[in-house]
Amino acid sequence: MQKVAWTELIVAILAAILVTAIYPWLGQGALGGFGVLGFAGVTVLFLRRRGNTVVTDERDRQIDERARLRAISTAWMMLFLCLLVIIGWANSSNGHVVPTAMLTWLVWIHFTICLAVKGIAALLIYRKQEHAAQN
Protein backbone atom coordinates (compact mmCIF):
# COMPACT_ATOMS: atom_id res chain seq x y z
CA MET A 1 0.00 0.00 0.00
CA GLN A 2 2.09 2.87 -1.26
CA LYS A 3 -0.40 5.43 0.05
CA VAL A 4 0.31 4.30 3.62
CA ALA A 5 4.08 4.56 3.09
CA TRP A 6 3.78 8.04 1.56
CA THR A 7 1.54 9.20 4.42
CA GLU A 8 3.98 7.94 7.06
CA LEU A 9 6.90 9.64 5.35
CA ILE A 10 5.04 12.94 4.88
CA VAL A 11 3.81 12.97 8.50
CA ALA A 12 7.37 12.33 9.80
CA ILE A 13 8.80 15.11 7.59
CA LEU A 14 6.02 17.54 8.60
CA ALA A 15 6.66 16.84 12.29
CA ALA A 16 10.40 17.43 11.86
CA ILE A 17 9.81 20.68 9.94
CA LEU A 18 7.22 21.95 12.45
CA VAL A 19 9.40 21.23 15.49
CA THR A 20 12.44 22.85 13.85
CA ALA A 21 10.36 25.90 12.88
CA ILE A 22 8.79 26.55 16.29
CA TYR A 23 11.83 25.69 18.42
CA PRO A 24 13.34 29.24 18.30
CA TRP A 25 10.11 30.64 19.84
CA LEU A 26 8.92 27.87 22.12
CA GLY A 27 12.13 26.15 23.18
CA GLN A 28 11.24 22.95 25.07
CA GLY A 29 7.58 23.61 24.24
CA ALA A 30 8.38 22.76 20.63
CA LEU A 31 8.17 19.11 21.71
CA GLY A 32 4.41 19.55 21.27
CA GLY A 33 5.04 19.72 17.53
CA PHE A 34 5.72 15.99 17.59
CA GLY A 35 1.98 15.61 18.18
CA VAL A 36 1.71 15.83 14.38
CA LEU A 37 3.00 12.23 14.37
CA GLY A 38 -0.48 11.26 15.55
CA PHE A 39 -1.73 11.95 12.01
CA ALA A 40 0.03 8.73 10.99
CA GLY A 41 -3.14 7.12 12.35
CA VAL A 42 -5.09 8.29 9.28
CA THR A 43 -3.45 5.44 7.36
CA VAL A 44 -6.16 3.12 8.70
CA LEU A 45 -8.60 4.98 6.43
CA PHE A 46 -6.72 3.61 3.41
CA LEU A 47 -7.16 0.06 4.69
CA ARG A 48 -10.97 0.13 4.75
CA ARG A 49 -12.55 -2.34 2.36
CA ARG A 50 -14.73 -0.87 -0.37
CA GLY A 51 -17.16 -3.53 -1.57
CA ASN A 52 -15.34 -6.63 -2.77
CA THR A 53 -12.17 -4.78 -3.73
CA VAL A 54 -8.99 -6.20 -2.22
CA VAL A 55 -7.20 -3.31 -0.54
CA THR A 56 -4.13 -5.06 0.86
CA ASP A 57 -2.76 -8.54 0.31
CA GLU A 58 0.15 -10.78 1.30
CA ARG A 59 2.65 -8.74 -0.73
CA ASP A 60 1.69 -5.52 1.09
CA ARG A 61 1.97 -7.28 4.44
CA GLN A 62 5.38 -8.68 3.52
CA ILE A 63 6.63 -5.25 2.42
CA ASP A 64 5.22 -3.64 5.59
CA GLU A 65 6.99 -6.25 7.72
CA ARG A 66 10.34 -5.72 5.96
CA ALA A 67 10.03 -1.93 6.18
CA ARG A 68 9.11 -2.10 9.88
CA LEU A 69 12.13 -4.30 10.59
CA ARG A 70 14.44 -1.83 8.85
CA ALA A 71 12.86 1.13 10.64
CA ILE A 72 13.13 -0.43 14.08
CA SER A 73 16.72 -1.58 13.48
CA THR A 74 17.77 1.87 12.29
CA ALA A 75 16.06 3.73 15.13
CA TRP A 76 17.37 1.24 17.70
CA MET A 77 20.96 1.57 16.44
CA MET A 78 20.75 5.36 16.37
CA LEU A 79 19.25 5.42 19.86
CA PHE A 80 22.19 3.48 21.27
CA LEU A 81 24.73 5.63 19.41
CA CYS A 82 23.03 8.80 20.69
CA LEU A 83 22.95 7.42 24.24
CA LEU A 84 26.67 6.63 24.05
CA VAL A 85 27.40 10.17 22.88
CA ILE A 86 25.16 11.68 25.59
CA ILE A 87 26.72 9.56 28.33
CA GLY A 88 30.20 10.50 27.10
CA TRP A 89 29.26 14.16 27.08
CA ALA A 90 27.65 13.98 30.54
CA ASN A 91 30.66 12.18 32.03
CA SER A 92 33.19 14.56 30.57
CA SER A 93 31.56 17.95 30.87
CA ASN A 94 28.23 17.89 32.67
CA GLY A 95 29.07 16.41 36.06
CA HIS A 96 27.68 12.94 35.19
CA VAL A 97 24.18 14.42 34.81
CA VAL A 98 21.94 13.83 31.78
CA PRO A 99 19.09 16.36 31.54
CA THR A 100 15.70 14.62 31.35
CA ALA A 101 14.61 17.07 28.62
CA MET A 102 17.40 15.70 26.44
CA LEU A 103 16.07 12.16 26.86
CA THR A 104 12.55 13.31 26.01
CA TRP A 105 13.84 14.89 22.79
CA LEU A 106 15.75 11.73 22.03
CA VAL A 107 12.65 9.53 22.33
CA TRP A 108 10.50 11.80 20.12
CA ILE A 109 13.22 12.22 17.50
CA HIS A 110 13.55 8.46 17.31
CA PHE A 111 9.80 7.97 16.86
CA THR A 112 10.05 10.39 13.94
CA ILE A 113 13.09 8.62 12.47
CA CYS A 114 11.36 5.26 12.84
CA LEU A 115 8.27 6.48 10.94
CA ALA A 116 10.33 8.17 8.22
CA VAL A 117 12.60 5.15 7.67
CA LYS A 118 9.57 2.83 7.52
CA GLY A 119 7.98 5.00 4.84
CA ILE A 120 11.17 5.28 2.81
CA ALA A 121 11.97 1.56 3.08
CA ALA A 122 8.45 0.55 1.99
CA LEU A 123 8.51 2.96 -0.97
CA LEU A 124 11.92 1.66 -2.06
CA ILE A 125 10.75 -1.97 -1.94
CA TYR A 126 7.58 -1.14 -3.94
CA ARG A 127 9.68 0.76 -6.49
CA LYS A 128 12.23 -2.04 -6.77
CA GLN A 129 9.47 -4.60 -7.42
CA GLU A 130 7.75 -2.36 -9.99
CA HIS A 131 11.06 -1.79 -11.75
CA ALA A 132 11.85 -5.53 -11.76
CA ALA A 133 8.34 -6.32 -13.07
CA GLN A 134 8.82 -3.95 -16.02
CA ASN A 135 12.08 -5.63 -17.09
Binding site: V54, D57, E58, Q129, A133
Partner: protein
Protein backbone atom coordinates in the same frame (compact mmCIF):
# COMPACT_ATOMS: atom_id res chain seq x y z
CA UNK B 1 11.03 -17.84 -9.34
CA UNK B 2 9.50 -17.60 -12.82
CA UNK B 3 5.99 -18.49 -13.97
CA UNK B 4 3.64 -18.91 -16.93
CA UNK B 5 0.84 -16.75 -15.50
CA UNK B 6 0.84 -14.21 -18.33
CA UNK B 7 0.60 -16.91 -21.03
CA UNK B 8 -2.08 -18.83 -19.14
CA UNK B 9 -4.07 -15.67 -18.58
CA UNK B 10 -3.97 -14.77 -22.26
CA UNK B 11 -5.00 -18.29 -23.17
CA UNK B 12 -7.95 -18.14 -20.77
CA UNK B 13 -10.11 -16.05 -23.11
CA UNK B 14 -8.16 -12.87 -22.43
CA UNK B 15 -8.54 -12.91 -18.66
CA UNK B 16 -7.32 -9.53 -17.38
CA UNK B 17 -4.89 -9.04 -14.50
CA UNK B 18 -7.75 -7.52 -12.49
CA UNK B 19 -9.96 -10.58 -13.15
CA UNK B 20 -7.25 -12.92 -11.90
CA UNK B 21 -6.49 -10.66 -8.93
CA UNK B 22 -10.17 -10.63 -7.90
CA UNK B 23 -10.45 -14.39 -8.23
CA UNK B 24 -7.39 -15.18 -6.10
CA UNK B 25 -7.95 -12.33 -3.62
CA UNK B 26 -4.95 -10.08 -4.22
CA UNK B 27 -4.39 -6.65 -5.73
CA UNK B 28 -3.70 -6.15 -9.45
CA UNK B 29 -0.24 -4.82 -8.52
CA UNK B 30 0.60 -8.20 -7.02
CA UNK B 31 -0.33 -9.93 -10.29
CA UNK B 32 1.87 -7.42 -12.16
CA UNK B 33 4.77 -8.18 -9.78
CA UNK B 34 4.16 -11.93 -10.09
CA UNK B 35 4.10 -11.90 -13.89
CA UNK B 36 7.28 -9.82 -13.94
CA UNK B 37 9.02 -12.29 -11.63
CA UNK B 38 9.49 -9.53 -9.05
CA UNK B 39 7.50 -11.29 -6.35
CA UNK B 40 7.52 -14.86 -5.07
CA UNK B 41 4.01 -15.89 -4.02
CA UNK B 42 3.11 -17.70 -0.83
CA UNK B 43 2.24 -21.38 -1.14
CA UNK B 44 -1.45 -20.55 -0.58
CA UNK B 45 -1.48 -18.00 -3.41
CA UNK B 46 0.41 -20.35 -5.75
CA UNK B 47 -2.16 -23.08 -5.02
CA UNK B 48 -5.09 -20.70 -5.62
CA UNK B 49 -3.59 -19.63 -8.97
CA UNK B 50 -3.00 -23.24 -10.00
CA UNK B 51 -6.63 -24.03 -9.11
CA UNK B 52 -7.90 -21.18 -11.29
CA UNK B 53 -5.95 -22.47 -14.31
CA UNK B 54 -6.59 -26.13 -13.52
CA UNK B 55 -2.90 -27.02 -13.58
CA UNK B 56 -0.34 -28.35 -11.12
CA UNK B 57 1.72 -25.76 -9.26
CA UNK B 58 4.96 -27.00 -10.84
CA UNK B 59 3.47 -26.55 -14.30
CA UNK B 60 2.98 -22.85 -13.61
CA UNK B 61 5.93 -21.96 -11.35
CA UNK B 62 9.54 -23.01 -11.63
CA UNK B 63 12.82 -22.03 -10.04
CA UNK B 64 15.37 -20.15 -12.07
CA UNK B 65 18.89 -21.56 -12.18
Amino acid sequence: MRNHIRELRSAAKGMTQQDLADRVGVTRQTIVALEGGAYTPSLALALRISQIFGKAVEDIFWLED
